[in-house]
């Protein structure tokens, strides 16, 4: 269960993998996948063949080895006969974002965390979201409002909504999330949420069409967030917000990651060799220490530099607050 609904399913109380659990199989820092554990199940990847039966009863966070034969390359350093290994992690919304199947463009952790913070979500809140997309943000919204709040998420794509519903079901989030099929741009949010939402999130191609409806749904001082990749969308959305919203602010957030390694630098005075291995280049980044054993040199620096590839743009996040009703013409 990704988000505990009861003290008894809190993450710390169950630490052992059981049949039916979803585990995140960590192969490398850039290769993870979600696997549903079942008796007799088998996972085959570049590190070898892994039998689910070997996992059952292991604590989350364990390193497990392949059953031999497989893992020819990579991961072999761990040293057991079978060769390859992977780590089995308990799923969290953050890991889920990295392993979910992309049916649409998704939001990543930097945007997600800012959205949750700026929407001021706390347990018990009611949030409306459109569209559902692949459910990356939805999962984090559910965690934020659990155990007694609710996320009502809407997508006009029936199949996508069904897939998302399935995912939420698998992750034990059904009681927190209701997936609806509805064209929010065309029809607005349903009447039943009138004045009941603490926060609303829009990720729509034409958010301005939905904004009047958002004004009706939000409680006073409730927060709206609209995510758009293009500044023209932001421009129009902001225009639409000005009638019923205040404190309209637009942000862009990116995450700059750094790679850390050790190594020595040549001295300018002594023309000796002092290098320990080649400088960055193809070296692994900030990653997978479990696979890296060759880096314990004395008298060397810990070297840090930003990773050279990074996401350059995700989208603009526009936040706005519903004006308080009593200083407002109508609601």
């Amino acid at each position: 269960m990704m988000v505990p609904l009861d003290p008894s399913d809190k993450l710390t109380s169950r630490r052992f993998i059981a049949e039916g659990d979803t585990v995140v199989v960590y192969e490398r820092h850039d290769a993870m996948r979600a696997v549903a554990v079942r008796a007799g199940g088998v996972l085959q990847n570049r590190f070898g063949v892994f039998r689910h039966d070997d996992w059952i009863g292991c604590p989350f966070g364990s390193k497990v080895f392949s059953t031999g034969g497989g893992g020819v390359k990579g991961g072999g350093k761990g040293g057991k006969a079978g060769g390859g290994f992977v780590h089995l992690l308990a799923p969290t919304p953050e890991l889920w974002t990295l392993v979910l199947s992309h049916r649409t463009q998704i939001l990543y952790i930097a945007d997600i965390s800012l959205v949750v913070a700026y929407l001021e979500l706390v347990p018990g809140c009611v949030v409306l979201e459109s569209g559902t997309g692949s459910g990356s943000l939805t999962t984090s919204l559910a965690r934020a409002v659990a155990p007694h709040g609710h996320v009502h998420t809407f997508d006009f794509h029936e199949q996508r909504a069904a897939s998302a519903r399935e995912d939420f079901e698998k992750n034990g989030l059904s009681s927190l999330i209701t997936v609806n099929v509805r064209d929010i741009q065309g029809e607005g949010f349903p009447e039943e949420h009138h004045g009941a939402a603490d926060a609303v999130f829009l990720d729509l191609p034409q958010p301005w069409l939905a904004i009047p409806s958002v004004g009706l749904m939000l409680k006073q001082d409730g927060v709206l967030c609209s995510f758009s990749p293009c500044i023209e969308q932001v421009q129009r959305a902001c225009e639409a917000m000005r009638t019923h919203f205040t404190d309209i602010r637009t942000f862009e957030i990116l995450l700059r990651t750094y790679e850390v390694r050790d190594g020595a630098l040549k001295s300018a005075t002594a023309d000796e060799e002092a290098t320990v291995g080649p400088l960055p280049q193809k070296r692994r980044k900030f990653t997978a220490p479990g696979e890296n054993t060759d880096c314990t040199q004395k008298n060397s620096y810990v070297l840090v530099r930003p990773c050279s590839t990074a996401r350059g743009h995700t989208g603009y996040l526009t936040f706005a607050r519903r004006l308080v009703y009593d200083s407002q013409t109508e609601s």
Binding site: L11, L88, G124, D247, E252
Partner: protein, 616 residues
């Protein structure tokens, strides 16, 4: 007076006979007139043991402004007398604390007591059920859903954030009866704010603060826009004829003073200034708006009532006193919370040397479930005073515990001295730095002010910039903090539901067996490697952690040692980059000023120690 059975609604219990000792506990027998909520509440909390502390619990009532989705309510109730009073939420209009005016019936009136200052007395959580005599009370181990999720209106005694003139001045206040704010040379009572919705705008009148009407409540967003649509592209005016020789304004300061004496409103003065400016007409439309806004701030200040939340508190400190929170920007804080997987029922281990910002933000996300275990080095507790700015309910506050690092380390492996501990003697305990229920003093009425104003003449800035300065000194706790090292040696009496106290031995035992579900370290002045060496083993397997620092070197070193020791996986050293945009028709661009640095985060996931479970 009639017994409880007669009360079908309203005040449902004759409290006279019921007294609690310090260790009283009640069995929770919740009930509700609504079957739907009944089942849910029962499932979660019906049989929880409820400890009634001998001391007041928290420091504020949570008041409802949400639709009556549930019939349970939390209301002020002094426990210091040892008597429990229960009220029905519906008897109280929003934002009201006193029952005096609202009871209506004589029966109700007979128990309508004047309530003490919420700052000096704590309130337990009280669940009220219509038509049932059995009532549930006070801080259950795992509470039912709170009646109030987000209070939408200010109530007397709550903490508020005042934003004066669009962020020129930001300051926290507590809405005590005597609280005032000084704006310009005018001292205004904050009483008009009580009962008003958060988000309301107030302007200054002769009688003090009055709510603005929609028309005269401009915000930074639309002020510049009005009337400029369509003119933006064919703007022909420019600044070629503008000369800065200080002669453009024909009104002298004496004239303005005279206008003020005659009772002119701020807006009238602004109009007069515009009318008497010889250059105003030649300015571009945008420039005219800027001029108007500038004068408005000076002569017609606006006060925006804001709700303190981790977002607004972090933003305010970051803007006004960033050193206090270790230069942690709001996006960095939110990343820490996300990465560490903070949600309901988490048991979060926290090192907070950023004034309590992290502890408060975590407590907010826990919503009265789980625990925040705030640990500190040696015998000196780190101050977590910032949690006072949050309007945490007593139940949320009760989820904050403080434990010396040495106790946690000895819990892990007895006899171990933590690597971080150099001088501090192991097991020594300190007095809690924060005890929220005692926090209320008259001095709270003083603004806890971070104001740093550009218009010194206009705004009172003689308040110290550090918000803690005017905080009350802390009252000593009569019970020394629980030393958990002894474990079973402690009685239940030391079980505390107050923040700043140690956790119960059972809780410590639970954490010892199960580990914490997340770790956040925010010790911007410390070397983090040894913290992590001590604390990582306390995490449950596969639990995420997030380490904050304002410098990259300590994190890089820490990350490297984790890479080598293989205690963790998914290690990432990152830095959020946040840019704000001005979005206006034809004038959209990033803000001219941006903050270039919000802190670094090292994150990862703890691995299983025994590590290798291999196939044979």
């Amino acid at each position: 007076m009639s017994g409880p059975q007669q009360w079908r609604a309203g005040l449902v219990w004759n409290p006279a006979e019921l007294r609690f000792s310090s260790r009283s506990s009640l069995r929770f027998s919740s009930c509700s007139s609504r079957p739907r909520s009944l089942s849910r509440r029962h499932s979660s909390a019906r049989h929880s043991d409820l400890a009634i502390p001998s001391r007041p619990l928290g420091r504020r009532p949570a008041l409802s402004s949400s639709p009556p989705a549930t019939r349970s309510g939390r209301l002020p109730c002094p426990l210091s007398t040892g008597v429990l009073h229960l009220f029905h939420q519906r008897l109280l209009p929003r934002g009201r604390r006193s029952l005096h005016h609202h009871t209506g019936s004589s029966r109700a009136a007979s128990v309508a007591l004047p309530l003490p200052d919420p700052l000096t007395t704590g309130y337990p959580q009280v669940l009220v059920c219509q038509g049932y005599p059995q009532l549930a009370v006070a801080a259950p181990m795992d509470p039912p859903p709170p009646a109030v999720v987000i209070p939408r209106e200010a109530w007397e005694g709550c903490s508020v954030l005042l934003d004066i003139n669009d962020g020129d001045r930001l300051a926290f206040f507590r809405l005590t009866p005597g609280a005032t704010v000084k704006i310009g040379n005018k001292t205004c009572s904050l009483q008009p704010l009580v009962g008003r919705p958060f988000g309301s705008v107030f302007c200054l009148s002769a009688d003090g603060l009055v709510p603005c009407t929609a028309a005269d409540a401009p915000s930074r967003d639309d002020s510049i826009r009005d009337g400029t649509n369509g003119q933006t592209l064919d703007e022909t005016r420019d600044n070629r004829s503008l000369v800065d020789n200080n002669t453009a304004q024909n009104l002298s300061s004496d004239d303005i003073e005279a206008m003020k004496r005659d009772g002119a409103t701020g807006d009238e003065i602004v109009e007069a200034l515009i009318a008497n400016s010889s250059t105003f007409g030649n300015k571009t439309v945008f420039s005219q708006e800027k001029y108007k806004l500038k004068k408005q701030k000076k002569y017609a200040p606006k006060v925006l009532l804001r709700r303190p939340s981790s977002r607004s508190i972090c933003e305010t400190y970051f803007k006004k006193n960033p050193a206090r929170i270790g230069f942690m920007r709001v996006d960095t804080l939110s990343l820490l919370l996300s990465i560490a997987n903070i949600g309901a029922y988490s048991d979060v281990l926290v090192v907070d040397m950023v004034g309590g910002l992290v502890v408060g933000a975590v407590a907010e996300r826990l919503g009265g479930t789980g625990y925040v275990c705030s640990t500190y080095v040696g015998s000196v507790l780190s101050s977590i005073d910032i949690i006072r700015m949050f309007n945490l309910s007593s139940n949320m506050v009760s989820r904050i515990v403080q434990v010396p690092l040495s106790d946690l380390c000895s819990m892990q492996s007895p006899g171990n001295t933590p690597a971080v501990l150099n001088g501090g003697s192991e097991g020594e305990v300190g007095e809690p730095v924060i005890a929220p229920d005692e926090s209320a003093q008259v001095s709270q009425a003083q603004p806890v002010d971070t104001a740093v104003s550009d218009e010194k003449a206009q705004l009172s800035i003689d308040q110290p910039t550090d918000m803690e300065v005017s905080e009350p000194s802390l009252v000593k706790d009569e019970n020394p903090q629980l030393d958990c090292k002894g474990g079973d040696g402690n009685s239940n009496a030391s079980k505390s539901t107050k923040s700043g106290k140690g956790p119960s031995p059972e809780k410590m035992q639970y954490w010892k067996e199960h580990g914490f579900s997340s770790l956040i370290v925010a010790a911007p002045g410390h070397e983090v490697e040894s913290f992590v060496a001590d604390l990582l083993p306390l995490l449950s397997y596969s639990a995420p952690f997030a380490i904050y620092h304002q410098y990259i070197e300590p994190l890089a070193k820490c990350m490297h040692s984790l890479q080598v020791s293989k205690q963790a996986i998914g290690l990432q050293l990152s830095e959020p980059w946040l840019r704000e945009y001005q979005v206006l028709p034809s004038r959209t661009h990033p803000h001219m000023q941006m903050n270039a640095f919000g802190g670094y985060i090292l994150s990862g996931i703890r691995l299983c120690d025994s590590g290798e479970v291999s196939y044979q």
